[in-house]
């Protein structure tokens, strides 16, 4: 009874318990494996990691409203566009790309305000029984009328799609991207719906021949974490890395930055650097099936089997996505992409 009482008291006054050796994270990534990683960090350094996870925009709203009372040190999310947008609102301080980080993370995947922790590619999936992509197929090709009624992709409100279209705007200009979006929409096999995995399943089930989705989803299915049926379904589908004859395949990141009013900045940097160690990167790639951010770590074999030598788009800086996402959404919505 006394323990219960103390527990209640502790919870009521949880906001007063600030000790020096801790780091507070707001995270829009929900992976349990991230939490395991934080535990490893604590075991190593003695720094306690506290987490609030939630929806990206709502969390940002809370951080902004809390202002200088915000106890958060790090903001971690998937998608470079989100990081860029939050940066442009002045919510990060410089420091994420510390000297140690700069040495190992390619310049394309970081800014002074935030750094990538892991990479993912947004690729084309196809059904090898019915179709066969030519080696130089591109995202741009998906608007070709010959794919009419054959393509599935999720909705325009999805941030990964917004980043993909942002990269197209960056490379081809808004006008061409508008025409492209209209062409793509007219090739839809069904109204955009479901998550990325649902697109891959639709190809497996024969609803469409082509899908656009991130790489780690197929590995998740192949791993058996979604059961034997989905494992079997995933084997019927192949990923294809587009734009090999040009700028390369569209890349995106999971990443984090140090919040403007961070009370434990040093610990936050330590944690970011820890996340980029070989040990942590191996943990990430084997649990989330993303690509590692640093050299010297192999992706999980379920991902590696699809090839490691593909050309990544290192020309388009991921930091440009944030600036163009709103425009991308506008173009997609106006082209009838629901």
């Amino acid at each position: 009874m006394r323990k219960l009482f103390l527990n209640i008291l502790g919870f009521l006054f949880i906001f007063t318990s600030v000790t020096a050796q801790e780091v507070n994270i707001f995270s829009a990534r929900h992976y349990d494996s991230d939490v395991q990683l934080y535990e490893k960090f604590t075991a190593k350094t003695g720094i306690k990691v506290n987490v609030v996870s939630g929806k990206d925009k709502a969390l940002q709203k809370r951080i902004k409203a809390e202002g200088k009372d915000c106890k958060g040190d790090l903001y971690i999310t998937a998608d470079a566009g989100r990081l860029g947008a939050f940066q442009s609102q002045g919510m990060f301080q410089k420091g994420a790309s510390s000297a140690g980080v700069k040495k190992i993370v390619p310049a394309n995947f970081r800014t002074a305000y935030w750094t990538g922790i892991a990479k993912r590619a947004r690729v084309i999936y196809y059904n090898p029984k019915t179709v066969n992509p030519s080696w130089n197929m591109t995202y741009e090709d998906l608007a070709d009328p010959k794919y009419k009624g054959k393509i599935v992709i999720r909705q325009s409100n999805n941030v990964y799609n917004q980043s993909l279209v942002a990269s197209l705007i960056k490379n081809n200009g808004a006008k061409k991207t508008e025409t492209w979006a209209k062409g793509l929409v007219s090739n839809f096999a069904r109204k955009a719906k479901g998550n990325d995995r649902a697109q891959i399943l639709a190809v497996a089930a024969g609803e469409a021949d082509w899908a656009v989705a991130n790489t780690y989803y197929i590995a998740l299915m192949l791993s058996g974490k979604k059961g034997p049926e989905q494992q079997a379904a995933a084997k019927k589908v192949r990923p294809f890395f587009p734009n090999q004859d040009g700028r390369g395949t569209h890349m995106n990141i999971s990443g984090g930055g140090i919040l403007k009013h961070s009370p434990n900045k040093d610990n936050a940097i330590k944690l970011l650097e820890f996340l980029l160690t070989k040990e942590a990167q191996e943990h990430i790639v084997n649990n989330t099936f993303e690509y590692p951010m640093i050299d010297g770590v192999e992706p999980n074999k379920l991902i590696a089997q699809f090839g490691l030598g593909f050309k990544q788009d290192l020309k388009t800086k991921v930091s440009s996505y944030g600036k163009l996402q709103a425009k991308a959404l506008k173009i997609m919505t106006e082209s009838g992409w629901n």
Binding site: D32, A58, K61, R62, K71, E207, Y217, K226, E229
Partner: protein, 538 residues
């Protein structure tokens, strides 16, 4: 006149004001700049969003009406196998929140989902995906919301049937009506106020739903408000859209209020006896039994089975869950919030009762609209308001910031729940109060009781059952609550709802199954506790 301004008056003045915070915040834009969102929306999808909202609303109203009234009709007037079981089993649907229903529906019908597994198990390998019906997001949303909400219509309609002083079917027979004709001409009209009351509750919950429709990627007015405010920082558009939503809700309130007044008119004050039920035989009995079984299966067993199946199929996710802290956190929130809500609902009701002030009455009526504001919007409004208030106090009076006290703390969560569920609690206590005759108060005063003593020694004991019922209803709502908890919670704080959500967000519905199942179990337990009050035959 001055004697009116006392402790009771002040307390019943303050509570509705606190509860009105989100509405006030939405309407008075202190803060942000506007963007082009409205122009974009108008040129593209605004009509679609509104029509989605209306389509979901109409679909849900139709289904909940059909499920709720038909089942209430069967269990109230007829005797058939299992009727005493269905009587309470049907309210278990309250334990399954719409978003968990949505998880189950998707899991079952998706390509290579549970239905596929079952067919493979039964008939061996095959191309079954073609034959498994695919739910459109709109249809999926309508079904998920309907199955989780039809209980309102069922409970209220059934209560209204029970309050009839004699068997309406007999009346119909005496008038020479067929069963069908008695149903449409006598029974249905007599229960109209109760049905409308049930449907308007359903309507409010449907319009304010965010979790279910966003899981199915259906954009409604609520989505548009969320996007305008939270993604585009466009408060003025959010205001205009919220106004539209509140306008819908206001109309529903007026309808509900109107029908309540009629309901009072219809109720016999005392001396009704229970209706002798008509025994069904043969086909009719099978029909009633099948309908109720189907409803019980779809609304409760189906999601429980789906979640149970996953929990067993994927046992390794089971280990990752810290049951002690999830139980502790969930129950702590339930306990603190119920106590606060009940105490303040009492104060407000009593204040209203003794001061008889029109202003208070209007204010209380206004404040209960908090229930109809989507939780996610309410949570952001709450944060915005607290931060505005704290900043204003700091800059004007040099106070220390009190944000940490309310944002990211258990106290903040309890306060936000308070705003969200005050209507539920206030109305629950009020309906108990309406049964205490004013003359009882007058006699107490004559006997020399003070107002305070009248309150503690007469009203509180008299309303024991109402307190119990309201407390448990709040508990069920808080166990299921997601958006407010998600945004406002402290560090390292999980409830069953947030845990289930966080797995669902990483596309591991399989892992979300166990916390969902625990959530349903707790809510069911609470429902069974109060089922005899909800279903009271007296």
């Amino acid at each position: 006149m001055n004697s009116r301004i006392n402790f009771w008056y002040i307390s019943s003045l303050i509570v509705p004001l606190v509860v009105a915070i989100p509405i006030i915040t939405i309407f008075f834009s202190f803060f942000e700049t506007t963007s082009e969102y409205l122009t974009l929306l108008k040129n593209t999808f605004l009509l679609e969003y509104i029509s989605n909202s209306i389509f979901v609303l109409v679909g849900v109203l139709f289904l909940t009406f059909f499920f709720g009234v038909t089942s209430a009709y069967f269990v109230s007037f007829y005797d058939f196998p299992g009727v005493n079981f269905f009587k309470w089993a049907l309210i278990l649907s309250f334990a399954v929140p719409g978003y968990i229903y949505a998880y189950s529906l998707t899991a079952f019908f998706e390509n290579y989902g549970t239905a596929f597994s079952i067919l493979t198990y039964l008939f061996g390998e095959g191309e079954y995906n073609k034959y498994i019906p695919k739910f459109d997001g709109l249809i999926g949303s309508i079904f998920s919301i309907s199955f989780s909400l039809f209980g309102y219509v069922y409970v209220l309609t059934r209560a209204s049937f029970l309050y009839q002083s004699h068997n309406l079917i007999e009346v119909g027979k005496n008038l020479g009506f067929s069963t069908k004709r008695s149903f449409f001409k006598i029974i249905l009209p007599s229960a109209r106020p109760a049905i409308v009351a049930g449907l308007s509750l359903v309507a409010m919950e449907t319009l304010s739903d965010f979790g279910t429709v966003s899981f199915f990627s259906i954009s409604t007015l609520t989505t548009a408000i969320y996007n305008a405010w939270i993604s585009f920082d466009d408060l003025s558009t959010a205001n205009q859209l919220s106004f539209l939503l509140l306008f819908f809700i206001l109309i529903l309130f007026i309808i509900e209020n109107y029908s309540r007044k009629r309901a009072k008119y219809h109720q016999p004050s005392r001396g009704f006896k229970s209706i002798p039920k008509i025994e069904l035989k043969g086909k009719k009995s099978t029909l009633a039994f099948s309908f109720c079984s189907m409803l019980f299966f779809c609304s409760f067993l189906f999601p429980v089975f789906q979640m149970g199946y996953w929990t067993i199929k994927f046992p390794k996710y089971f280990q990752d869950i810290d049951l002690w802290s999830l139980n502790f956190n969930t129950l702590l929130l339930v306990f603190l919030s119920s106590v606060c809500l009940i105490i303040f609902s009492f104060l407000s009701n009593y204040g209203n009762r003794i001061s008889k002030s029109k202003l208070l009455n209007y204010l209380s009526a206004f404040s209960v609209t908090g229930y109809a504001i989507p939780g996610v919007i309410l949570a952001v409004a709450f944060i915005t308001f607290i931060s505005w208030l704290s900043d204003t106090f700091s800059s004007t009076f040099g106070f220390a910031s009190f944000k940490p006290l309310f944002i990211g703390s258990v106290i903040g969560l309890v306060l936000a729940y308070f705003v969200r569920f005050f209507s539920l609690s206030f109305n629950g206590i009020r309906s108990g109060y309406l049964k205490i005759n004013q003359s009882i108060d007058d006699s107490a005063y004559l006997l020399g009781y003070s107002k305070f003593k009248t309150f503690t020694s007469i009203h509180v004991p008299y309303l024991k059952n109402s307190i119990f019922l309201v407390g448990v209803l709040i508990a069920i709502e808080i166990i299921k609550e997601l958006p407010i908890t998600l945004i406002l919670r402290p560090f390292n704080f999980e409830t069953f709802a947030t845990k289930a959500y966080s797995y669902a967000a990483q596309d591991l519905l399989e892992a979300a199954a166990f916390p969902s199942l625990c959530l349903i179990m707790w809510a069911s337990l609470f429902i069974l506790f109060v089922s005899r009050y909800i279903l009271s035959d007296k």
